[in-house]
Symmetry: C2
Subunit: 188 residues, 2 copies
């Protein structure tokens, strides 16, 4: 304790991803990650409960960012415009982490347990967005529908953003999908 | 073998659900399920690989039904109308299984492993619907977006359908959600 570790979280995250790719997720231990990051296992456990959470801890911050965007949206905005603002805010949260996010995606893709964890986080995100919409006075079913649609768009935008030949920013991709959604919707 | 077991699958499914609710999912064995159904464990294993699949085996039939609806949709139909037809077809597949489906939901809700399995099946469903749309000539991103939206609507319709105070048919709920979606969509 006591010793200041500049950006311990960032270093641990980068080290973990490197090792997951090099040696495989199963074969990598917390001790390995700490060593690669030039830190102690004790420091690791100050920031993460286990190695799996190195991959998923960002999800809480993302959720907070998107919920906050819903809270801050202008009073008269429609449910879908509010959700669109939340999806756009995710882009600001991600910034320029594509290299990290691609490695993370590749690690997750190879483990059923990690894929399921990712899907669970997305389901939780949908529930939180729906709650935030309801708190703005959006009727319950409409709130849940808009939240589900928002997460569907978010997830596809994220997937496209990580494609090797994709050079647009996350926000641009999300905006494109929301525009397509407007044209897709039935019965209008 | 040899002896004809009328509706063995249905009897095993009903027995399993009863026991999962009475004793808990973990505490129920395949032998218990077979006994309750008046069948042998050997008969159980002719129909299901393990007790978990009693809850999830229907998912393949559902996926086939929805994919088939996409294949059969009229040539000129828009991607979203085709997906809407697939969601509607799910209602025909479900028929009148609400009592079973409510028990199933309650069992799944109490086990993280089962919840994750359910989410994985839905992700697979989305990928299959997107493939079927692409086979109709729908452009890839549009196909994936329409499939994600379709699964989002399906999942919410299913959840609402199982609510205790819900008396509408699955199709009616899905149609209502698709109509709401048309009003929700941004930028139209």
């Amino acid at each position: 304790m006591g010793r200041w570790e500049p950006d311990a979280v960032g270093r641990l995250r980068a080290a973990a991803l490197e090792l997951f790719v090099e040696r495989g997720y199963e074969q990598t231990t917390v001790a390995d990650i700490a060593e690669r990051a030039g830190l102690t296992a004790r420091t690791f456990f100050r920031h993460f409960p286990d190695k799996r959470e190195v991959l998923f801890q960002g999800a809480e911050g993302l959720e907070q960012t998107m919920v906050e965007a819903i809270r801050q949206a202008p009073g008269g905005a429609s449910a879908m415009n509010v959700v669109s603002a939340a999806v756009g805010a995710a882009g600001g949260y991600f910034g320029d982490i594509q290299v990290f996010a691609r490695r993370r995606r590749d690690v997750i893709a190879t483990h059923a347990e990690l894929r399921e964890r990712e899907l669970t986080k997305l389901a939780k995100l949908s529930a939180s967005l729906a709650d935030a919409l309801e708190q703005r006075g959006v009727e319950s079913v409409e709130a849940r529908l808009a939240a589900e649609i928002g997460v569907a768009v978010f997830r596809l935008a994220f997937e496209l953003w990580l494609a090797d030949d994709e050079h647009r920013r996350f926000d641009a991709i999300a905006t494109d999908l929301l525009r397509r959604l407007g044209r897709l919707a039935p019965g209008t």
